[in-house]
């Protein structure tokens, strides 16, 4: 089959998945599983948890692919949003289960993971042009903005929790996150920063 008759854009793949095209799902998996697995690992820290979530995410996409609306967000944003949402659910469910375990148990659990989970032998670094742009933009943010974004997105803390942890006033935390997001988006979509101000 020639390449031009196969769905190739993310949005075309999503449309094909909505009609239960297993090949399209496999293609999308190959394209996005490293990004989504890396994201889940960053949030959950444990490979077993990240694998469980990744599997559920793609099964959900398979069953509910028709929920994706390309007029609202890009397919990548949709996939990332679903993956992070399921990772957060998993994190909170695990936190509830291990509530009685206490801080000592939590420390033991993380310690048992050994080194940085993203530095294992299966690591495959794919520094896309966009990722480099976002990382560069992140590097230019003031430390307080960068830290607020990290705590909100990867540690899944509420704004009040971020304020309590960093000692920054709640209103400033909100402002830091909003401004930081605008600058990151601006790195990918020039002009957005100006519009957002």
């Amino acid at each position: 089959m020639s390449a031009d008759v196969s769905p190739s854009t993310d949005e075309e793949l999503m449309a094909a998945i909505a009609t239960h095209d297993a090949v399209a799902l496999e293609t999308l998996y190959d394209r996005y599983s490293p990004l989504l697995y890396g994201l889940c690992l960053r949030i959950l820290h444990r490979h077993a948890d990240a694998q469980a979530v990744l599997s559920e995410v793609f099964f959900e996409i398979w069953h509910k692919g028709e929920r994706f609306d390309p007029t609202r967000v890009s397919a990548r944003t949709y996939l990332v949003t679903v993956a992070r949402s399921r990772a957060v659910d998993h994190l909170r469910a695990a936190a509830t289960r291990t509530e009685k375990e206490g801080a000592a148990g939590r420390e033991r659990r993380y310690a048992s993971q050994g080194q940085d989970p993203t530095a294992g032998p299966t690591e495959r670094t794919i520094l896309s042009e966009e990722a480099e742009l976002v990382r560069a933009a992140l590097g230019t943010l003031p430390e307080a903005q960068r830290e607020s974004l990290r705590l909100a997105y990867f540690e899944c803390l509420t704004h009040m929790e971020i304020a309590a942890r960093t000692g920054i006033p709640l209103g400033t935390v909100k402002s830091n996150i909003r401004q930081g997001l605008l600058k990151l988006r601006g790195a990918l979509a020039p002009g957005m920063v100006e519009r957002g101000k």
């Binding site: 239960h20 297993a22 799902l25 496999e26 998996y29 599983s33 490293p34 990004l35 697995y37 890396g38 994201l39 690992l41 960053r42 990240a50 694998q51 990744l54 599997s55 793609f58 099964f59 398979w62 069953h63 609202r72 967000v73 890009s74 990548r76 944003t77 990332v80 949003t81 992070r84 949402s85 957060v88 989970p117 993203t118 294992g120 299966t122 690591e123 495959r124 670094t125 794919i126 896309s128 966009e130 990722a131 976002v134 990382r135 909100a152 997105y153 990867f154 899944c156 803390l157 509420t158 704004h159 009040m160 929790e161 996150i177 997001l181 605008l182 990151l184 988006r185 790195a187 990918l188």
Partner: protein, 259 residues
């Protein structure tokens, strides 16, 4: 919830860190507001760029195989089901009468015990969810702009339990109850606020489900009201003042939100 209140909360909603009770209100508003949905989409696009800063990691190859096996089983499922249905039917016709007689005897004994157990379990689960929701809601609203009233025991029970949050900034009242009494035939329940001067302010009708659970939000059309109590009455008609009997009430706490 109006657009301003929704947009105030969108940033936390987009990062899934909004309290569940508030997230429900935002979700309800978003279903009918194209403008706020558009703002949410922008925020989600922006948050998604952060995911690019996580190092991509290839998942184990067997994970993909497991997923594909699961998907193909899902595709083949309906066909396999039809093929095996005839075989299963023959087996069931032979053994079903024996199984049915045995099960009836066992079930009669088990049901009596488990019904009571399930009722207690359900009551405990509802009470736990209620208090989690109440705590989350109280934390979600800045104490400077909200007033809070609650009624009921902290332990699971059959008693009426409710809380009410008056959000002065948004001009809204949020009510949530368990075990709310069902109104008599031909009557209904109404929620009121009573000012410190004893004047009633009508909020709206309460419609508990069969188990007595009830959640409702109402606009508050009386700005700067100094509230003293929240009251539920049983009414035959709806008027400007309550005429029916008071079923349950709660006193508002101080301005800092403590009951």
């Amino acid at each position: 919830m109006n657009c301003d209140a929704c947009q105030d909360r969108l940033l936390e909603f987009a990062s899934e860190s909004l309290a569940p009770a508030e997230a429900e209100l935002v979700r309800a508003h978003l279903t009918g507001c194209v403008q706020c949905r558009g703002m949410l989409d922008e925020l989600q696009e922006a948050f998604a760029t952060l995911a690019l800063t996580a190092s991509p990691v290839a998942p184990p190859a067997e994970l993909k195989q497991e997923l594909l096996t699961r998907i193909h089983a899902d595709l083949d499922g309906p066909r396999a089901e039809v093929a095996s249905r005839a075989t299963r039917a023959t087996v069931w016709r032979t053994v079903l009468p024996y199984i049915a007689v045995s099960l009836c005897a066992v079930l009669a004994g088990v049901i009596a015990v488990s019904v009571a157990d399930r009722r207690v379990e359900r009551q405990e689960m509802l009470a736990k969810q209620f208090h989690e929701r109440m705590d989350a809601s109280r934390r979600a609203f800045p104490s400077s702009r909200m007033r809070f009233a609650s009624h009921g025991p902290s332990a699971p029970s059959d008693e009426v339990t409710f809380y009410l949050i008056l959000d002065n900034a948004a001009g809204e009242v949020h009510f949530h109850a368990l075990n709310l009494v069902q109104p008599s035939a031909g009557k209904h329940l109404e929620l009121w606020l009573e000012s410190v001067q004893g004047e009633p302010v009508h909020l709206g009708r309460l419609e508990p489900d069969a188990s007595g659970t009830c959640s409702a939000s109402f606009p508050l059309r009386a700005p700067n009201l100094e509230v003293a109590r929240a009251i539920v009455t049983e009414e035959a008609t709806t008027g400007a003042r309550p005429t029916g009997p008071e079923k349950v009430s709660a006193v508002f706490g101080n301005a800092a939100g403590a009951p």
